[in-house]
């Protein structure tokens, strides 16, 4: 295929892929790197299902070109698992039944992780505002907020 060779780092590992210049990073991650945790909901930056971290900052991978990833550091939901063990946020999402169909979940997990890194003890309001860029049509959000609060509490305990 014709495309540009891109060298980048995904979840700590060096990754190379070739993609057309107008392909989104979302499509490149899913179809060329094989990381299908990023989901396409809207494709226009409204729903957050494709959330990743780019050089540590939260972003919608549908609004990034694959070629822009050259030399950058990307984090996806697949990077949350460490040594085969689920991240506290993932455990709490299961415990609180903070998902139904699951399409929005990877995006919520990535966004919530960034939220808790920046603010380990957020109020309910701060969580709701912080996750305003992630849409969920199943849960009504309440269980997600509760799961993030529980994860925050657990993570603060672990740090002490």
């Amino acid at each position: 295929m014709t495309g540009v060779l891109v060298s980048t780092t995904v979840n700590g590992d060096p990754v190379q892929f070739a993609c057309p210049t107008n392909e989104s990073l979302l499509d490149a991650l899913r179809n060329r790197v094989g990381l299908t945790g990023v989901k396409e909901g809207c494709g226009t930056g409204d729903c957050g299902a494709c959330s990743i971290t780019l050089d540590g900052r939260l972003a919608c991978s549908c609004l990034v070109l694959g070629v822009e990833a050259e030399g950058r550091t990307i984090g996806t939901v697949e990077g949350l698992v460490e040594d085969g063990k689920l991240h506290t946020l993932q455990e709490k999402f299961i415990e609180h039944a903070a998902l139904q169909c699951g399409i929005c979940t990877p995006g919520f997990l990535v966004a919530a992780k960034v939220l808790l890194e920046n603010n380990p003890n957020p109020t309910e309001d701060q969580i709701r505002y912080g996750l305003a860029g992630n849409l969920c049509r199943c849960t009504g959000y309440d269980k997600i907020v509760k799961a993030v609060q529980a994860a925050g509490k657990e993570m603060r305990k672990k740090k002490r």
């Binding site: 540009v4 930056g45 409204d46 959330s51 780019l54 549908c62 609004l63």
Partner: protein, 286 residues
């Protein structure tokens, strides 16, 4: 589509100038990629300016702040000196989209996208911001209110791009504020907005700029609204005059988000509230 990553602004300008097809600048991409996705545009050339050092920094000097064209909203919000000096400009920019968008979106992109409802634009104009424009052969600095000429249209010539925005040094007792009305609290587009930047002398408004958004094809600087509160301590009569001048300066559209009548009324309310916030931020006591 050709994708280029120049490392100087001049190189970027030359690439844009020489392209025979459709050329676009890519900064945060939060508007450009949406337009590509919706098939509204089909670029022949995209010039990614994020590898240009001059576009990446916020610098403070005796003449004020310079904010590079690829500085994202989140970075502005984390810059404590900028937040302290220009809280209105920062709060306006931080209203754009979600945290995901804030990590990418830029003030210059918001300006060049040229939406009548752009949040950062009224705040920049109120602040007396200037755009540093780089072309193939020359640079020029232009007041921000001269950039947008209509919905989706700017005064930039072929091959020109904005490298940075400058905000002037702040006299003591100054404050600015931006307010918008949206049906939702987050992730929405302004139905009406107002920005006010002022300087006080012994509690009296000495100088002020009032700018309205989403009520005309471009943001509107309203000298008559400024005149209404200069020399006052924002007493009720002065605020009513301010609101009336703002309503009079409106030329809004009717759409599903708001009627002409509604926008014309609410713009005065927002301008009054924004003026009060700016006044208090400048150290004034209401």
């Amino acid at each position: 589509m050709r994708y280029e990553t120049p490392t100087t602004t001049k190189e970027a300008a030359t690439l844009l100038y020489k392209e025979k097809g459709k050329a676009y600048v890519l900064a945060g991409g939060t508007d450009l990629l949406v337009r590509m996705k919706m098939d509204m545009i089909e670029p022949d050339l995209v010039v990614d300016i994020k590898r240009i050092p001059a576009t990446k920094a916020i610098t403070k000097s005796a003449v004020g702040f310079k904010i590079g064209a690829t500085v994202c909203g989140a970075v502005m919000g984390e810059h404590s000196a900028l937040v302290k000096a220009w809280p209105g400009v920062v709060e306006a920019t931080n209203l754009i989209g979600s945290d995901q968008i804030q990590g990418r979106c830029t003030m210059v992109g918001n300006l060049c996208n040229a939406s009548p409802a752009a949040d950062s634009v009224p705040a920049m104009i109120a602040a007396g911001a200037k755009a540093v424009i780089v072309g193939k052969d020359k640079r020029r600095t232009v007041a921000v209110e001269k950039i947008v000429t209509g919905p989706g249209k700017t005064s930039l010539a072929k091959g020109e791009l904005i490298e940075a925005i400058t905000l002037p040094a702040r006299p003591p007792r100054s404050g600015d504020a931006y307010l918008r009305f949206t049906p939702r609290t987050e992730m929405d587009i302004a139905v009406v907005s107002a920005a006010v930047s002022l300087t006080l002398l012994r509690g009296v408004v000495k100088s002020v700029r009032v700018v309205l958004g989403a009520v005309a094809p471009t943001a509107v600087l309203v000298p008559k609204a400024a005149k209404a509160i200069i020399g006052t301590k924002l007493d009720d009569a002065a605020l009513e005059n301010l609101a009336a001048a703002c309503s009079e300066a409106c030329n809004p559209i009717d759409d599903k988000r708001g009627t002409i009548e509604y926008r014309t009324k609410v713009v005065g309310v927002l301008a009054k509230r924004a003026a009060k916030i700016a006044y208090q931020r400048a150290g004034g006591v209401l």
